[in-house]
């Protein structure tokens, strides 16, 4: 009976949502056009990266904060002292992981570089780095992580700190995260590069501190 009621409610909700979506009018504000008009000043050739790091860079700054925060929560709940030995995995997986990991590193660097003019960027590159670390752990080649030491903490926070420092530094000249057009490209590259490393560590940490 309860299940039936829940299913009925969910179905009604879906129907209402679809009905609302079918009657969407043409948007009053044309943001893609606005993005296109300002692309030259953004310091980036790809619109998605320009929106993420320049036009709405503040959202991205806070999102990185959310990721770092998630890691801190994981550490607060699940940090352990003793080292856990990796399980022995089968040799085929180990060989494949050994081949794949360097290639994934290369792919991450490519994704970071490609972000300037085609889909890619720090998030994708960081995710590939983290995947490489998780793969090495699952193949029994790398141990799970214990409580982070000083170096690891610096690595985890570096991307966010660099982003914060750039945001704060730019306040001297103008608004929060207002890149001077001449410097925009270089500053965004600096942020993206450190973010790639930190995001890779954070995403890997979310798995490896818990496993």
């Amino acid at each position: 009976m309860k299940r039936f009621a829940v299913a009925l409610l969910a179905a009604l909700f879906a129907v209402a949502l679809i009905a609302a979506l079918l009657e969407l009018p043409a948007p009053a504000v044309d943001l893609p056009a606005a993005v296109g008009a300002k692309m030259a000043e953004s310091g980036i050739a790809h619109p998605v990266t320009a929106v993420l790091l320049n036009f709405r860079g503040y959202d991205t700054l806070l999102e990185i904060g959310v990721l770092l925060l998630a890691l801190i929560v994981v550490l607060a709940v699940a940090a352990r002292e003793e080292a856990k030995q990796p399980a022995v995995a089968d040799p085929v997986l180990q060989t494949l992981a050994r081949i794949a990991a360097p290639l994934m590193l290369l792919a991450a660097v490519y994704l970071l570089w490609a972000g300037a003019f085609r889909p890619g960027g720090a998030f994708q590159a960081g995710a590939v780095l983290a995947a490489a670390a998780v793969l090495l752990h699952l193949a029994g080649l790398a141990a799970a992580w214990q409580k982070p030491g000083k170096c690891l903490r610096i690595g985890l926070a570096a991307g966010f700190l660099v982003f914060l420092a750039v945001a704060a530094g730019l306040l001297v000249e103008g608004a929060l995260l207002q890149y001077p057009p001449a410097w925009a490209g270089a500053l965004i590259l600096l942020i993206e590069a450190t973010l790639t490393v930190s995001l890779g560590l954070i995403l890997a940490g979310l798995f490896l501190f818990l496993s």
Partner: protein, 476 residues
């Protein structure tokens, strides 16, 4: 530091990350210094807003809405910013003495919590607001879960579920709004949303407000609040009950007043009805509670109800808005004081039970006085801030002939007196002989006096009511 707006967000992020870098259980001094500067910045911002008389804007990235994100500060935002830093500063002193170096992650989590709240108060962009909601929610869940046992983790997971459902509904609403209007800037949306908007907009407004009500623990979405606030360590409960639930309430009020004003008229009775039910049900549960912290947590459910009574009364005379602002401030101070005082009682008696506070009056006069003063604010006795809030609320209700609301407000005050006096009466009883033999810890002076300072502020704020009301007039 020309413009205080961005620094109110950057500063807590900086000290939170600094505390994380320093390592487990470190960073208290950093946090205290940072929060003191933030308090000063919040007052500076309030002075700027009052003298300007309108909202101040800060276009992030220099682009300006709708392409970029705007930060905006009006009187309401400035008031909540002051309240947040003002309550957080003594609570951080309290937390430093309470945890005494045994809280691995309190400081970074508290920093992210404050940053998220300050960013939420200052944002004028629906999607950016979602990001700030996530910061606040995740930091709050982490604080509840931090280093706790199975029961605390279960409460944290329930809280996580409620907060994720709430922000999920909000995000779905934002997506629909973006689909209809092509922008998420509140300033750009305000002239676009009209009463003949397409159904998707009505649907979106409903989803967003319902999600935020779940996050504010409005009856009947309150089920997650008592275990989460009642199970966390005392300084965390105080932060959550005094400040975090106010953040989502602030957002409801903001959306109600600005982009959604043409839509919300038809349903203004609904939040008031739920608020009335929350007052009666929350007070009743507080009266029946066995545990001290549970009692205070249920009292939060009841006191949040008053905030929702204002919605059908909002109008040109602004009385209801003033009552809401005053109630947010008074309850924030009083509830922080009450959880802080209860934390001392539990530490000293070693047990979290109303029955076990017998005999406390002679040993902890300062703490008990703090509890009583906070109780005065919750009951709404003069000259406290709670009195002023309830007075204006009754005035607004009478002006519109809403006798039913007056009855609920008065009944809520009486019920609050019952649960406050339940604890006070027990504290003046003599302990049974078995109780007396138990070894008891001596109270830490910092804990007692920070609780007292917050409680005194909750009463005295009533005397500064005019300044608060004048600040609310600026551009809200």
């Amino acid at each position: 530091m020309t413009d205080p707006l961005p620094w109110l967000i950057l500063l807590p992020l900086l000290w939170a990350t600094g505390a994380f870098l320093l390592g487990p259980a470190r960073g208290a001094r950093l946090a205290l210094a940072g929060t003191a500067v933030q308090l000063w910045l919040a007052f500076a911002l309030a002075a700027k807003v009052s003298s300007a008389g309108t909202a101040l804007h800060h276009p992030v990235g220099g682009w300006g809405a709708p392409l970029g994100i705007d930060l905006a500060a009006d009187g309401l935002a400035a008031l909540l910013l002051i309240l947040t830093q003002f309550v957080a500063l003594p609570l951080f002193l309290y937390a430093r003495a309470y945890f005494a170096g045994k809280s691995p992650a309190f400081w970074p989590l508290a920093g992210f919590l404050l940053a998220g709240m300050n960013a939420l108060f200052l944002s004028a962009d629906l999607f950016n607001l979602y990001v700030t909601l996530e910061l606040v929610g995740l930091a709050a869940v982490g604080l509840v879960a931090m280093g706790g046992g199975a029961q605390q983790l279960a409460a944290a997971l329930r809280y996580l579920f409620a907060t994720l459902v709430g922000s999920g509904l909000y995000l779905l609403g934002v997506a629909l709004i973006y689909g209809v209007f092509g922008t998420v800037s509140i300033t750009a949306l305000t002239p676009l949303v009209t009463a003949d908007a397409p159904p998707a907009v009505w649907f979106a407004a409903g989803l967003m407000l319902a999600g935020l009500m779940a996050k504010t623990a409005l009856f009947p979405f309150h089920y997650w609040l008592p275990p989460a606030h009642g199970g966390a360590p005392a300084p965390v409960s105080a932060l959550l009950s005094a400040l975090v639930v106010k953040a989502s309430f602030y957002l409801i009020l903001r959306l109600w007043l600005h982009p959604f004003a043409p839509l919300t008229q038809v349903a203004a009775w609904l939040p008031a009805l739920l608020g009335g039910a929350a007052i009666l049900w929350g007070s009743w549960q507080a009266i029946r509670a066995e545990r001290l912290k549970e009692l205070v947590a249920w009292s939060t459910v009841a006191q949040l109800g008053y905030l929702f009574l204002i919605f059908p009364l909002l109008g040109a005379d602004r009385l209801a808005l003033h009552a809401g602002g005053m109630q947010v401030v008074a309850h924030g101070l009083a509830k922080a004081a009450m959880f802080a005082a209860v934390g001392v009682l539990i530490q000293v008696t070693g047990r979290d039970a109303v029955a076990d506070v017998a005999g406390v009056a002679a040993r902890l006069p300062v703490t008990l006085f703090a509890f009583g003063l906070a109780g005065i604010t919750l009951m709404g006795l003069p000259p406290s801030g709670g009195f002023l809030a309830k007075w204006m609320l009754i005035d607004a209700a009478l002006l519109r002939g809403r006798w039913d609301m007056v009855v609920v407000i008065l009944a809520g005050g009486l019920l609050a007196a019952v649960y406050v006096f339940r604890v006070l009466r027990q504290a003046f009883l003599l302990p049974s002989s078995g109780e007396r033999r138990r070894v008891e810890r001596r109270p830490v002076a910092t804990l007692e006096w920070t609780a007292f300072a917050l409680a005194a502020a909750s009463v005295l704020v009533g005397l500064r009511g005019m300044e608060i009301l004048r600040l609310l007039e600026a551009g809200t």
